[in-house]
């Protein structure tokens, strides 16, 4: 029984480490996705510009449905 205890401890530690790694990667993703960074890259490196009023016509916007007022969240 104690043998299982060792295993459980090891796995718990491994799980914690992986979770922490996930958080770090998520932070890295969000830093790279920061709007200012993307805009700077888009305008200086890729030479993209915002469309002017008359260059883009809005037809429709598909919006995901609002979640109900109280909902269960999957753990990340």
């Amino acid at each position: 029984m104690t043998l299982n205890g060792y295993r459980i401890e090891q796995l718990q530690k491994a799980k914690d480490a992986e979770e922490e790694m996930t958080r770090q990667l998520r932070l890295e993703i969000e830093t790279l996705r920061s709007p200012r960074r993307i805009e700077t890259l888009a305008t200086t490196r890729l030479n993209l510009v915002s469309p002017k009023q008359d260059e883009a016509i809005v037809l429709e916007r598909v919006v995901p449905a609002e979640l109900p007022a109280s909902s269960i969240v999957a753990r990340r």
Partner: protein, 664 residues
């Protein structure tokens, strides 16, 4: 024989000892063993994240290494500090000194440096110094740097909230530490643990949209630079729900390294700084007159000769010494006539004026999400003499915050109700997400008055002499009001420093957003007026917002693309043709198959899985009859979904069976 007796005695002796140890001393020995094996520690709680309304991370905590030392185990502090500083690479002389002092003492624990980067930790670990160790500590990161800095705030070294939402909601976000009891063996390896798990901090989801926040900050920053201003604020709000989509302030700071910035940059000006609103306040004056039925939009007011005496020795003139002559009430707003506003204010009277000032939220805190919000300064009825009433009607002698202004104008935008501005959208607790509902506080004006005000305020932007023509966006109707007010410096109204603002909502007849832009002391190329400085910034923010929210133009709107489905396929195909090939025959694919939001989309031709998916995303419980592809649905495509909770679809594999099912 003697050997036997000796062996017997020996055996009894051992048994007695065994019994003694196992039975008599049992509890005592167990306790000693447990004490040796168990170690108790705190399990730190993870601080909750702060997200924007779409789940993007604005603030999060991540585990980092902190370097500590055991000074009593260090014999040569100088040598150790030199090695450490070589590895860390950036010790200041002061830091070196203090480290040497700390390590020289005989304490058991001292921090060397907290929250170091993984590289620094690696280098120091490689040194393998005696008496130096590492512990894990959480560190707060703001991945978007200065985005929404004033809203988010920042935390101290021990992850305690010091400012902003980190401070306001610190209790909920920080969580509660748990306890861990670990049993370890002789080699200090754990083999069992009992936990009270830590209560993870609640994650807080804001009403802020990261992209709109970026837009507001970008344009505000550009505007402040261009106009050589001392600072400014901009707020984007949903006038129906009170949700704050963006709140930007200049100057700003980076909360990751807040100590490098001056305290003045860290102030949330949008809710803390007061300014006299000037002409913007005429919205209060005029809407009060309309609601109290003292005047109508067409009531004629004589503003000749362009100045008026309000008190002994005090004469108020129009902007730029204009004389607007005899004008209808609506023009008082459109051209921003001071004389007109004063006359209206006098007609309303101090008591009613004071009441409407309160109804519009001035003079009190408007949002529970900003406990250090400035309530502003308004007079009270007793002190409003003729002269004060004249000032208040023009927006002087009252002090307001940008948040109060945008919330007040939002109530005109939404048809006359005051909705509490909120910045918290939802809270996550125990793996559940709880959405915060909007709070309608009170009704200020009736829908007809609101509609009349909207029409009048449209003129500010569109009319030939409107003060905010610079805010025009082709294809959209915008309602708004400019404001230009001298700053009070040393108890006197400055002649060179103004607070210039523009507040508006668009599209005016069905507003999606209300936006306010306030600029502090512009000294740039443009004349210091709300219409010349703030309105262009408003326009740029509004344009980007409209594009982002995909709001089509309201003037000459582009008709939605509709495509007819042809049903002759049903009549000409043989009985065994699969339904899927029938839909392949109809080449047109409806671009608006989903229809306007809130209505049932067209599910015909979809597979069972796709149809269920679509219905569930709309919040409907799906009911399926049959197998195959959707041939009929209830509610029908295009029907409104407000009272619907169940979606029924009939499926069929082939046309023949479809026709069979269709036959009663």
């Amino acid at each position: 024989m003697i050997t036997a007796i000796l062996i017997a005695v020996w055996m009894v002796g051992i048994e007695a000892r065994l019994v003694f140890l196992q039975v008599v001393e049992h509890r005592d020995l167990m306790t000693r063993a447990t004490r040796q094996q168990m170690s108790r520690s705190d399990a730190a709680a993870k601080r909750g994240d702060i997200l924007d309304r779409r789940g993007q991370v604005l603030a999060t905590s991540v585990s980092t290494d902190s370097i500590y030392a055991v000074p009593s185990a260090i014999e040569d502090p100088h040598r150790v500090v030199t090695s450490l500083c070589t590895a860390l690479g950036d010790c200041t002389a002061k830091e070196r000194e203090s480290l040497v002092e700390k390590l020289g003492k005989t304490r058991a624990f001292a921090y060397v440096r907290r929250h170091v980067s993984p590289d620094e930790a690696r280098r120091v670990a490689a040194l393998n110094l005696e008496g130096i160790g590492f512990i894990k500590e959480d560190r707060r990161f703001y991945p978007n740097k200065e985005l929404a800095a004033h809203l988010l705030g920042y935390v101290g070294l021990d992850n305690q909230g010091l400012n902003g939402l980190e401070y306001t909601y610190d209790q909920q976000i920080r969580g509660k530490a748990g306890k861990v009891l670990v049993q370890t063996d002789a080699r200090r390896r754990a083999f069992a643990r009992v936990e009270t798990p830590p209560t993870a901090g609640s994650t807080v989801e804001l009403t802020i949209d990261e992209y709109l926040q970026h837009i507001a900050e970008r344009e505000l920053h550009a505007g402040v630079i261009e106009n050589k201003a001392a600072g400014g604020s901009a707020i984007i709000m949903n006038p129906h729900t009170g949700e704050i989509l963006a709140m930007a302030n200049e100057p700003t700071f980076n909360p990751n390294v807040y100590r490098e910035f001056e305290e003045s940059t860290r102030r949330n000006r949008a809710v803390q700084d007061l300014y006299e609103p000037g002409s913007t306040f005429k919205v209060v004056t005029v809407s009060a007159a309309l609601e109290e039925k003292v005047m109508t939009p067409d009531t004629i007011i004589d503003t000749n000769p362009g100045r008026i005496q309000v008190a002994p020795g005090r004469i108020v003139k129009e902007n730029d010494n204009h004389n607007y002559g005899v004008i209808p009430l609506s023009q008082v707003i459109v051209e921003s006539s001071n004389v007109g506003a004063i006359k209206i204010g006098w007609k309303i009277g101090a008591e009613r004026m004071s009441r409407y000032v309160g109804l519009y939220g001035f003079g009190g805190q408007v949002s529970r999400d900003f406990p250090n919000e400035n309530a502003g300064i308004v007079g009270n009825t007793a002190t409003l003499n003729t002269g004060s009433l004249a000032s208040v009607a023009m927006g002087y002698q009252v002090a307001v915050t940008p948040l109060q202004i945008v919330a007040a104008v939002s109530s005109v935008a939404n048809g006359g109700q005051y909705v509490e501005p909120r910045v918290i959208h939802a809270v996550y607790r125990d793996n559940r997400r709880f959405v915060i509902q909007p709070t309608v506080k009170r009704r200020i004006i009736g829908p007809e008055t609101a509609a009349a005000m909207t029409q009048i305020m449209e003129g500010v932007v569109s009319a030939e002499h409107g003060t905010a023509r610079a805010a025009q966006i082709p294809g959209f109707t915008i309602a708004g009001k400019t404001g230009t007010a001298s700053k009070l410096i040393d108890h006197r109204y400055s002649r060179s420093d103004y607070n210039v603002s523009f507040v508006g909502f668009l599209p005016s007849r069905d507003p999606a957003v209300a936006i306010v832009v306030v600029i502090d002391s512009p000294h740039g190329p443009n004349r210091p007026f709300g219409g010349t400085v703030s309105a262009p910034i408003f326009k740029r923010i509004a344009e980007a917002t409209l594009r982002y929210m995909a709001i089509g133009q309201t003037i000459n709107p582009v008709p939605p693309v509709l495509v007819a489905r042809h049903d002759d396929g049903l009549n000409t195909l043989s009985g065994t043709t699969a339904v899927s090939s029938m839909t392949a025959d109809s080449p047109e694919i409806s671009l608006v198959a989903d229809g306007p939001p809130g209505t049932m989309p067209d599910l015909r031709g979809l597979s069972a899985r796709e149809a269920v998916h679509k219905m569930m995303r709309l919040g409907l419980s799906p009911r399926l009859a049959g197998v195959g592809f959707v041939i009929a649905q209830d509610p029908p495509a295009g029907a409104p979904l407000d009272a619907v909770s169940v979606g029924r679809v009939t499926l069929a594999r082939t046309l023949a069976s479809a026709q069979e099912q269709a036959r009663p």
